[in-house]
């Protein structure tokens, strides 16, 4: 009696684990399916090349795509050097148990756990008001040139948000460089700096690239950090200067779903935009995975 009961318990439990796993797959499936079915019809050449028209009930999303691309490029320019330098310091120069290294690691870990809306508020307070406002006070007295939401501040805010991603994957790449390479370089008279420049960093490029792509994928999908720091509801022009505002896919989705004058008319465009954003992030993640698996096989071969 009790034995068969425990048997039933066992079956139930294993069934539950399977069910839980399937729920996750089903969720993803439903989301993707729903978006694809409803958004597919909207995708057209005009959708990609035109600006929103008639209060976002017609037209395309070109300015949002343009703004997103510009944003993540600026973000990458800011985050990759900073992240790579930090990772090189942590892995190549700092002693593993030094106070600074531990402090940096704790900071990186905590940075990764901060909610993105906090980054948005931080960006507004620090970059827009403190840095931007400071620049205005110094160089443009009486004017507002930099002390306002702008693409540069949004990009920098996103850079802070994605910094942990770049640091962690760069460190992983540095760790994957066999110590034998470093020793060989030292034994041939290479200094630490030359060894890092000629051997360690070139060998880590794919890993650094993976980190950059993951950061871009993460950054492209974030809305909260850019809401207060530079993204605009609607702009009749494309951003051309660093202190211009810009439109962005994620924010555009938010705006269309909350501020539309005609919900029914906006719906297909909304779905189309979501599909575009989804495809964009999927492609970026896929790229990162491909590069990573390529490095792994290359490294296996090197052993």
């Amino acid at each position: 009696m009790s034995r068969s009961f425990s048997k039933i318990q066992g079956y139930t439990f294993s069934g539950l684990t399977l069910l839980a796993s399937l729920v996750i797959v089903a969720m993803l499936g439903v989301i993707v399916w729903n978006i694809f079915i409803n958004g597919y019809g909207t995708l057209s050449w005009g959708f990609f090349t035109r600006a929103p028209e008639q209060g976002m009930t017609a037209g395309g999303i070109f300015p949002a795509i343009f703004g997103t691309v510009a944003l993540v490029i600026l973000m990458t320019i800011a985050v990759v050097p900073l992240g790579v330098l930090t990772a090189v310091y942590l892995h190549e120069y700092a002693k593993p148990d030094s106070v600074i290294a531990r402090l940096v690691r704790a900071a990186v870990g905590n940075l990764a756990g901060v909610p993105s809306i906090v980054f948005g508020l931080f960006g507004l307070g620090f970059f827009v008001h403190f840095v931007g406002g400071g620049i205005d006070k110094l160089f443009y007295p009486g004017e507002v040139a930099w002390g306002q939401p702008a693409i540069i501040w949004a990009a920098l805010t996103l850079a802070v948000l994605t910094l942990p991603v770049v640091i962690v994957s760069t460190e992983e790449a540095l760790r994957a460089v066999p110590n034998e390479y470093r020793e060989a370089s030292y034994a041939l008279g290479g200094s630490k700096w030359l060894t890092i420049r000629k051997i360690v960093l070139p060998h880590s490029v794919p890993g650094i690239l993976t980190g950059a792509i993951l950061a871009v994928g993460r950054g492209a999908g974030e809305v909260a950090p850019i809401m207060f720091t530079g993204a605009a509801y609607f702009l009749p022009y494309l951003p051309s200067k660093l202190n211009d505002q810009f439109m962005e896919l994620g924010y555009h989705i938010f705006v269309m779903s909350t501020q539309s004058p005609d919900v029914e008319k906006t719906k297909p465009i909304l779905y189309g935009t979501v599909l575009v954003l989804l495809i964009l992030t999927f492609i970026l993640n896929l790229l990162a995975i491909l590069i990573r698996s390529k490095i792994r096989t290359a490294q296996r071969r090197a052993r």
Binding site: E180, Y181, A184, Y186, A187, L188, G189, G190, K198, H203
Partner: protein, 293 residues
Amino acid sequence: MQRDGNQKELKLSGSDITKDRHNRVLKDKEEIVPSVEKEASSRKLKMETQNLNFYYGTAQALKNVNLPIRENHITALIGPSGCGKSTFIRTLNRMNDIIPGIRIEGKVLLDGIDIYREDIDLSALRRKVGMVFQKSNPFPKSIFENVAYGLRIGGVKNKNILEEVVEKALKDAALWEEVKDKLHTSSLDISGGQQQRVCIARALAIEPEVILMDEPASALDPISTGKIEELILDLKRDYTIVIVTHNMQQSARISDYTGFFLLGELVEFDQTSKIFTNPKDRRTEDYVTGRFG
């Protein structure tokens, strides 16, 4: 007087490799001296350790090692695993310096100069005392770039010089004939034995005076091992060689002098023939006759 000259050479900066080569050519000429003198100079001590103690943290890995390394001879270091022979060989070009928490006492002399002196230029030292590792570790670059690496980081940019040196080094490493048509393929696409010879060529390219080899053939098949051994015997003419080996037959085959290490101590050091036929210490005898280790 001579000390000073040597000091200067140790402090050579990176861009002086070609000049260094030039000096070597001159030095070779100076060595055309009466045969009696030559005989004496060929027994000259190239390197020497004096009361060398080595600690990893609190664990002592080397105990009071006094070992002479004679110029243009092969000195083999044998002993069971963990006896300190690898640690020892790595003190000779300060490769241990990268390991955190080490401490060293005593002296390691190269041409009479203590290489642990404060003002020693590590890069210059390691160009003089080259090293080949147990696990062949070519860079994931082409064969050519591997061999040219030492020159490139030394600041040599001239393509003709690079090509000339790479060819010479590969010839000296007995690899030229096998790879001359694929210099620009990845060094990871050739056999293990060839990879190890690329590493040897890479060490030869910067014309060191001493070459340290840490079990260079232990991961290779017998045929590749044979080739490497032949090569080492050839290199003796131009270089002073220190080799760590697990393989006692190998030591007996190629070395002139053998040191037997046990638990961080240099138990016995003598001519190889004496170590293997008539060792003075009981422990050496037990080891070379295969009673333990």
